[in-house]
């Protein structure tokens, strides 16, 4: 990956309690935001099974995800036949609108020529010309979740988007990075539509991963942006690009369509939300709706009420890079000190982080760096380490398998920022109240109890590790 190497990698040879997830998994998530899509991993069946379980646990939804089921022989002799058979089988059984193929460590180590296999497939299967087929190179051994997501979105743009001579008034594209939950995308749609604009999200997880109730069983993704909508992105007035890792896809889109992009490094925080609202007002030529004006007011009020509890709080954050940037920036905006920001991979956005220590590492690094922290912000995997050092954990990111509604959390815009501000603020607040009530000598039992799988009941000790 062409990224800077400024921040220190953990010097360990054994990554311990990894924060990193693999590229194909990120690609799968991006594909799941396309309507009637089937993501397909070109690798051994285990690659798919693990990814599937992780996404099921996070979203509590059925996850369509298939495998080319490479075995030893096909791995050595080449996987084209497995790939072709898999695509044809999926087409026969489920007739998806799009099949998104992500390579894995197995096929990338072998060096499968995906571009060549694409042409060969098209040549040999003229009857399937109507089937959209996106290939993304996503080796497990480089990059991570965000990179895979980015590769898949870029692949979709290159395969599906059509240039257009005309422009549809009020239509805008949104390249939604993987740090946006389905709930975030829904919130953004609300905000954008309130200006009378009609957004096309790529991908659109809000329509597929937020808890659908289908009338009939579908083996493919249900909901999401349609292939037709993606094709029409060339006719939009502008593209909002959310997150550093969407830049490559944005460049591909601009190159193909000449639609201008507006880049947002984050949408969490007052100023970040202001920028979004200002942009939308300019794009639409409309005044800011009353609803958003009220929301801004309540966010300002929440900041005034909440800053007491944030000031100089020492916080360690470990998340995927763009979410890491959004959260650490928000926390510094509120007067907290980010003592450690841990990213699973090297990316350019790390340059911009405001934190005492920035490193590429894992949950065991967080455990070391956060010993005297007031809070850790990370995914559910952080709970073991947090419990060991007795620091409360606020869960964000993916996977979040020990909380309901993981996919519907909102932290963008005025309202989402307010929600996040309250959630984290309440952890500090309840801790302070507990201290007042128990007296200062009270030791919190964050340690062993959690290790043995016992829940801390109401969580009133301010501890959310379980």
């Amino acid at each position: 990956m062409g990224t800077i190497q400024r921040f220190p990698h953990s010097a360990k040879a054994a990554s311990t309690n990894p924060l990193k997830m693999s590229q194909p998994l990120g690609a799968a998530l991006a594909f799941l935001g396309v309507d009637r899509c089937m993501p397909l991993f070109h690798g051994s069946q285990g690659c798919t099974a693990f990814g599937l379980v992780l996404l099921v646990r996070h979203f509590r939804e059925a996850i369509p995800l298939q495998t080319t089921a490479m075995d030893q022989v096909s791995t050595i002799l080449g996987g084209y036949e497995n790939l072709e058979q898999a695509v044809r089988t999926i087409h026969e059984r489920n007739a998806p609108a799009l099949i998104g193929v992500a390579t894995t460590g197995v096929t990338e180590t072998k060096g499968e020529d995906m571009a060549g296999q694409y042409s060969l497939f098209r040549q040999r299967n003229p009857a399937l010309a109507g089937l959209k087929l996106v290939f993304a190179n996503t080796p497990d051994f480089s990059g991570g979740f965000e990179d895979g997501f980015s590769a898949a979105v870029t692949g979709i743009v290159e395969e599906v988007v059509q240039p257009s001579e005309t422009t549809v008034k009020g239509q805008i594209n949104v390249l939604a990075g993987c740090h946006l939950s389905p709930g975030d995308v829904e919130e953004l749609r609300d905000i954008i539509e309130s200006f009378g604009l009609s957004p096309i999200f790529l991908p659109d997880l809000s329509l597929s991963m937020s808890g659908r109730q289908p009338d009939d069983f579908t083996a493919t993704s249900l909901g999401g942006v349609t292939v037709e909508q993606i094709a029409a992105m060339g006719a939009s007035e502008a593209t909002l690009v959310i997150g550093e890792h969407m830049r490559v896809a944005a460049a591909a889109l601009e190159l193909k369509t000449d639609v201008r992009s507006v880049f947002f490094d984050r949408l969490t925080g007052l100023e970040a939300s202001d920028r979004l609202v200002r942009t939308l007002s300019e794009l639409s030529g409309r005044p800011v709706p009353a609803k958003l004006r009220r929301q801004r007011e309540t966010l300002v009020d929440a900041m005034l009420d909440g800053h007491f509890f944030y000031s100089r709080k020492r916080i360690a954050v470990a998340l995927e890079p763009d979410l890491l940037y959004a959260v650490t920036s928000f926390l510094s905006d509120m007067g907290a000190e980010v003592i450690a920001a841990v990213s699973p991979t090297q990316t350019a956005v790390l340059e911009k982080l405001k934190a005492a220590t920035v490193m590429v590492g894992d949950h065991s690094d967080v455990e070391t760096l956060a010993r005297d922290a007031d809070l850790i912000v990370s995914n559910s995997h952080g709970r073991q380490g947090a419990a060991r050092i007795g620091v409360p954990l606020h869960r964000m990111g993916l996977p979040m398998f020990d909380r309901l509604g993981a996919g519907l959390k909102v932290h963008v815009g005025y309202r989402g920022t307010r929600e996040l501000l309250f959630e984290i603020g309440n952890l500090f607040l309840s801790r302070e109240m507990d201290h007042d009530e128990h007296g200062h000598g009270h030791a919190h039992g964050h340690g062993d109890g959690h290790e043995h799988g016992q829940h801390c009941g109401s969580g009133s000790c301010g501890c959310s590790a379980g």
């Binding site: 990554s15 311990t16 599937l52 939804e61 298939q66 080319t68 075995d71 497990d140 559910s380």
Partner: protein, 467 residues
């Protein structure tokens, strides 16, 4: 090497299914060929990890790119009563450079770090596809590390692409036979020492069985591998008797322990009332045959009589509540079949089951038990299950987590029978737990509400809402 091992596990005299096959069929292995684009399930590495990771005080290090551990760690409910090191995920997280230069040095460094920092009694090192492809000789690295660091470092040779989860279980068993069992002598042995193979202490299930064994006077010398300790597993060869729990997967361990150390084994199950009693009886009888005190037979009968009458008494209240309720079983394993009798005893009706993973003999067995009318589906597609549930052909589905949304989206109660569940179903108390879980979900008031028509819809869900 690995190929020889594979042929070895594909030829399993202890498995009747395997022996019924022709030479040629046997060579192909136990798992059916996977169909690209229509396959499901874990790989061999997954299976090996499932079988060995419950050894709680050992470190489990995965040699491979991030996908193998990063996407999968911390996702099983196997419990330990003491050490928690098994819950820590270790991986060499191979990068592009490691693949170009080979990952052996990094692997050694990783083992060394783990030994220095955590001082575990042993380190298990799992081979995965990518290092297997580039030719990392992890067996040599483990041997070197073991010598240098003075600790057992055990290579687990089950890269994902050699086959299915089930094969991975077997290969894990072979690993224990080759490197672990027989390497440590117990301080004391008793005539009633047993070894349990294939019990993973999911949701703490072993702890529903152990108190009964304690009461009878049977000692679990080693459990492979639920709530396991490395040294206990290494002492397994001094057991007087082996019980093989999940027979399909780990019968090779039972059989080879018999060959090497003359320890007889039997296949048993902790699921279901009659199976549980049979297991206890067999255990006591076989121990006595090997010279244990005859008194344990009487004690066993005493425990069985007491527990059985207690369990049927406790199941009594469920009978009227379960009357007429129909269960759709959707699991591959035969193990759930030992629960069937107990469920029927509690008043439930089993309407059908999937037999995708069952053998021909299993199917015959089911037919004998349930009669010709009973539904057995070989390759039931999710869409068909959805339709059956939607058409009210069953009141509850019991399956693994993977298919839960078929039931939930059809707005039909569902119960987890697989590894992600949080309630133990083993032993006598386990069956009561299971009935309580079924009753809880069947009688939950949401089922009526979620089937209501939305205010803007004219046609309500036509199904009866008595569930």
């Amino acid at each position: 090497m690995l190929q020889e091992k594979l042929q070895d596990v594909f030829n399993e005299p202890g498995c009747s299914t395997n022996q019924a096959k022709s030479e040629k069929e046997r060579k192909k292995g136990c798992s059916k060929a996977l169909k690209p684009g229509a396959a499901a399930g874990g790989c061999a590495y997954d299976g090996a990890m499932i079988a060995l990771q419950p050894i709680a005080d050992a470190a489990h290090l995965v040699h491979g790119p991030i996908a193998c551990l990063g996407n999968s760690w911390d996702n099983r409910g196997t419990k330990s009563s003491g050490p928690q090191l098994y819950r820590t995920g270790f991986t060499t997280d191979m990068s592009e450079l490691d693949i170009i230069h080979g990952g052996e040095k990094k692997l050694y460094k990783a083992i060394k770090e783990i030994v220095q920092q955590y001082d575990p009694p042993a380190v298990f090192v799992y081979q995965t596809c990518v290092p297997a492809m580039i030719g990392d000789d992890i067996e040599a690295v483990c041997k070197f590390a073991a010598k240098k660091l003075g600790k057992p470092v055990i290579p687990v040779m089950a890269p994902g692409f050699v086959g299915s989860k089930n094969l991975g279980n077997k290969l894990a068993g072979e690993t224990l036979l080759d490197h672990v069992i027989g390497t440590v002598e117990p301080e004391v042995t008793t005539p009633t020492d047993i070894c349990i193979v294939g019990e993973y202490n999911l949701a703490g299930e072993l702890w529903l069985v152990k108190p009964l064994l304690d009461e009878i006077g049977i000692r679990i010398l080693s459990c492979i591998s639920g709530d396991g300790r490395y040294n206990e597993v290494a002492q397994a060869h001094r057991a007087r008797l082996t019980m093989v729990v999940c027979s399909q997967a780990l019968v090779n361990v039972g059989r080879k322990m018999q060959e090497r150390w003359g320890i007889p084994y039997f296949e048993g199950s902790f699921y279901g009332v009659s199976d549980m009693s049979d297991t206890l009886r067999t255990m006591a009888r076989m121990l006595v045959e090997r010279g244990a005190d005859k008194a344990i037979i009487d004690r066993t009968e005493g425990v069985i009589a007491r527990e059985e009458s207690r369990v049927w008494r406790r199941l009594e209240p469920y009978k009227p509540r379960f009357d007429g309720k129909r269960v759709l079983l959707f699991t591959g394993g035969v193990k759930s079949w030992s629960m069937v009798t107990a469920l029927e005893g509690a008043g439930l009706t089993i309407v059908g089951t999937s037999t995708k993973k069952s053998t021909k003999e299993d199917k015959e067995r089911i037919k004998k038990m349930k009669g010709e009318e009973f539904h057995q589906w070989d390759d039931l597609k999710p869409r068909d299950i959805y339709k059956m549930l939607r058409d009210s052909e069953a009141d509850i589905m019991m399956s693994g987590g993977r298919s839960q949304f078929i039931a939930l989206k059809a707005k039909v109660p569902w119960l987890d029978l697989n590894q992600e569940r949080h309630t133990p179903y083993a032993g006598y108390d386990g069956i009561v737990n299971l009935c309580e879980e079924i009753d809880k979900t069947l009688s939950n008031p949401i089922w009526r509400q979620v089937r209501l028509a939305a205010p803007w819809e004219s046609k309500p869900d036509s199904r009866p809402v008595g569930a």
